[in-house]
């Protein structure tokens, strides 16, 4: 009951022009940051932190959290319209979002990504509000062995990602894992494949690699084909069908389930939105009656990806508010923003400054609403991107890719990395190797390696098999890896039997 009264007061703080302006500006900036390849949610928030020094702490937090929320949606816009995920967590959105656009159903894809993001964001916030304390105490109890098992589980999604092409998907994931070994060894500091240059001490940065693999490789292969004509299917945007409420209602269970998955994975410090989207997508695909339609333009794939990455925001705020521990790169920046205002995130914040905490909760809910409103208006604008002649669009993508990869660390080395990955992505594409498993490998490799070694330091090799949750996750991983093989084996047997 106290909670509801506090929450009600939290909404009270949002009355007035300042919070409303802060949320609206935050949502607009967030969408732009998300859509711009090279600006990740954490960078978007970090860029705005200096502007919040002189603001009252509530307004500052409302602004920053609004950016965080909206940027996770913004990434889907470019993923759907031009197959270039604006953020790492939108990689999965492109799996089905872009095929939908190619089929002339961009309106559906944009609509579902917006609605799923909003609903996911709200579900994540509700879980945050009501269960933050028990969930946070669960999160800190997770042993490195469990993180390792989670990373392995994430990697098994490759098995279903690849479909029939699974050997190539598997090789791509291994490539991602191998790329991840470049740099200083995270535990002992030994140099691995650094070739004597300090630029490689931290390995390749994810964002330039991502831009190269998706945006540049696309530009390169179009250049090669010299195919700049407008594709017929996307010809008439005036005929775009915007889905109705009933269309979304049909997907309610997918959205709710993947939102819960997204929130839960978001809670674990260090796991994050990208892993959540892969697992949620895999989960939805496996549960679907028509798994083969995924990757070819199934709206449920878009819904799963967007609901899970947006709900992970609520999850990532759980350890931040309940314990003062950042669960993601973006919440790490938020810790800094709190400290500037002499606020120490942690359980005491709830009792010392309930006004801050509850106005933050309330603003998370309202900002999602504002995002829905702005997104509905904006979608009519975003979709025009598909109408830009390719001769104009591709030079723009090239320019944005270069600027975006430079902006990550203000480093020309990163630009070279981006171009390098672009060329590599183009070659891989020619031979039908998918790019997404490389990203998955790069995201999960570090999580798997450091936690494996940490767990061994803490409890020796048996530790993975004595902790129940770790054993369970590893078993599930083994099963999910084996299942597609079993399925194809049975199919073969069936067709063989039918052939007789």
């Amino acid at each position: 009951m106290d909670l509801l009264i506090n929450l009600f007061q939290g909404f009270g703080y949002l009355v007035g022009w300042e919070p409303v302006v802060a949320m609206t500006v935050g949502v607009i900036l967030g969408i732009l940051v998300g859509a711009m390849p090279g600006l990740s949610p954490s960078m978007g928030v970090a860029l705005l932190v200096p502007f919040t020094y002189k603001m009252p702490p509530q307004i500052a937090l409302i602004l920053l959290v609004s950016i965080y929320i909206a940027s996770n949606y913004g990434g889907s816009i470019t993923a759907v319209t031009i197959n270039t995920p604006g953020t790492p967590s939108a990689v999965v959105t492109a799996f089905d979002g872009y095929p939908l656009t190619q089929q002339g159903r961009a309106g559906e894809a944009l609509g579902i990504s917006l609605v799923a993001s909003t609903v996911g964001g709200i579900i994540g916030t509700i879980i945050l509000i009501f269960f933050s304390v028990p969930l946070a105490s669960l999160a800190v109890r997770l042993h490195p062995a469990e993180y390792f098992a989670l990373a392995i589980f994430g990697l098994t999604t490759v098995a279903s990602l690849g479909g029939k092409n699974w050997p190539k998907a598997f090789i791509a994931a291994l490539l991602g894992l191998l790329i991840n070994t470049i740099g200083l060894d995270p535990i002992s500091g030994v140099k691995r494949f650094t070739f004597g240059t300090y630029r490689l001490f931290d390995g390749f940065a994810l964002i330039p690699a991502l831009i190269g693999l998706f945006a540049l490789s696309e530009v390169f292969s179009r250049l090669e084909e010299f195919k700049f004509d407008k594709e017929k299917i996307e010809a008439d945007i005036n005929k775009t069908v915007w889905p109705s409420f009933i269309y979304y209602w049909k997907m309610k269970f997918t959205i709710i389930k993947t939102s819960i998955i997204g929130t839960l994975i978001g809670i674990f410090p260090g796991a994050g939105a990208t892993i959540a989207t892969f697992i949620a997508y895999d989960f939805t695909k496996r549960g679907s009656k028509d798994p083969d339609s995924f990757g070819k333009g199934n709206p449920e794939g878009v819904a799963a990806a967007e609901a899970s990455n947006s709900s992970s925001v609520g999850g990532a705020l759980v350890p931040l508010l309940a314990l003062g521990i950042p669960g993601s790169a973006t919440t790490a920046v938020l810790v800094g923003a709190l400290m500037i205002h002499d606020l120490n995130p942690g359980p005491l914040l709830f009792t010392e400054r309930p006004d801050i905490v509850y106005s933050l909760f309330a603003s998370c809910l309202v900002a999602n609403g504002i995002m829905l409103a702005l997104g509905l208006m904006g979608s009519r604008l975003w979709i025009k991107v598909t109408d830009i002649p390719k001769t104009v669009l591709f030079p723009c993508i090239l320019a944005i890719s270069i600027i975006g990869s430079f902006a990550v660390n203000y480093s020309f080395f990163d630009v070279a990395v981006c171009i390098g990955f672009g060329v590599a992505g183009w070659i891989l594409k020619k031979f039908d190797y998918p790019a997404a498993p490389i990203v998955l490998g790069m995201v999960l490799g570090n999580l798997a390696e450091t936690n494996f070694r940490r767990a061994v330091i803490m409890g020796g090799y048996p530790v993975f098999f004595v902790r129940p949750f770790s054993v369970l996750l590893l078993l599930v991983s083994a099963l999910s890896l084996a299942y597609p093989f079993y399925q194809s084996y049975r199919k073969k047997k069936k067709s063989a039997a039918a052939g007789k």
């Binding site: 300090y198 001490f201 350890p319 521990i325």
Partner: protein
């Protein structure tokens, strides 16, 4: 309506007057002959290079510095984040710039540890001028009050019972916190295991989950969380903000009275003396600023102002010590 126009007109006219007043002063300053002879520093914005990603505690300190400095100087500071390889990327960046003072670098003791433990041709003593050390933050041992062992005596007994398998949590191996832990073990005559995490925050999460017994860090890290407690500090005396916390010396552990994290600023070696003098003047004002002091003293940090020579020597000593420790 007319009233509104009149008010607006008055405001507009008075604003014009204020700006006109400012414009009058500017040419007068330029006309001064002394300044024309030796161009005043700074003539353009100064880049403050931070070796950490935006948003972290170190990044905020640098930005706080620019905020406080703006009270005392008209110079414009632009924070430029050059994260990577524990500071080596930023050190390389400074190395590639001109020694004109327009690139000021935020530095901490962990940079020294990083250089000492990494193969690199960077020479911290010869290539950089360490111009101001502004903060001394004692290292300390943090525990979880929910753990059975949370006072130093209990931790010591627990380590004996666990026979070398007691878990100490913290950031990367070879860093300042790890080195401090090793010194504490040697001084106390005990054994334990270091579990390195990706960041201090993640190690604290594990301590809250009772996955280990001790976290090594700085006192301010317990703030906001009632389960965390500072068990002992590596300093010569008790901290005013943490009066109940004993020093290791009081607990009978000798040899760790001065294990501290320091934070300050450096420029490239060869920066002209007048520029350094300008910085020294600014650092003196900032380190005496009430807001600056209040912000950090409440965290148990000693706010100081060590000048060039003393700081250069400190860096040389720390580097030699870290290199000797790394060889072991």
């Amino acid at each position: 309506m007319k009233k509104l126009y009149i008010v607006l007109l008055i405001l507009l006219l008075s604003a014009t007057m204020v700006f006109a007043g400012g414009a009058k002063e500017a040419p007068a300053a330029k006309a001064e002959p002394a300044k024309a002879a030796a161009p005043a520093f700074p003539e353009k914005p100064i880049k403050l290079v931070v070796y950490l990603a935006p948003g972290g505690a170190g990044d905020i300190l640098a930005r706080k510095f620019t905020d406080v400095a703006s009270k005392y100087s008209k110079a414009t500071f632009v924070v430029e984040n050059k994260p990577g390889a524990g500071g080596i990327v930023a050190l390389e960046h400074i190395r590639a710039q001109a020694a004109d003072g327009y690139n000021l670098m935020y530095v901490t003791k962990s940079i020294v540890s990083k250089v000492a433990t990494t193969e690199t041709d960077i020479d911290l003593n010869k290539e950089y001028e360490w111009i101001a050390m502004l903060q001394v933050d004692p290292e300390c041992v943090i525990t979880n009050v929910k753990n059975k062992a949370h006072t130093w005596e209990q931790i010591f007994e627990d380590s004996k019972a666990k026979n070398g398998n007691q878990l100490w949590l913290g950031p990367a191996a070879g860093g300042l916190d790890h080195v401090t832990a090793q010194k504490i073990w040697a001084s106390a005559g005990m054994q334990a295991k270091w579990v390195p995490f990706d960041s201090g925050a993640k190690a604290i999460a594990a301590l809250l989950g009772q996955q280990g017994v001790v976290y090594v860090g700085n006192p301010a890290e317990v703030k906001g969380n009632p389960d965390l407690k500072v068990a002992a500090i590596c300093y010569s005396e008790r901290l005013p903000e943490f009066k109940d916390v004993p020093t290791f010396k009081e607990l009978g552990v000798n040899g760790v009275e001065n294990e501290v994290m320091w934070r300050g600023f450096a420029v490239k070696a060869g920066t002209p003396a007048p520029v350094i003098a300008w910085y020294e003047d600014l650092f003196a004002k900032v380190s005496n600023d009430a807001d600056w002091k209040k912000t950090y003293e409440s965290d148990g940090i000693a706010v100081v102002n060590w000048k060039k020579d003393k700081f250069n020597k400190l860096v040389a000593d720390d580097l030699a010590e870290a290199k000797a420790a790394a060889k072991k």
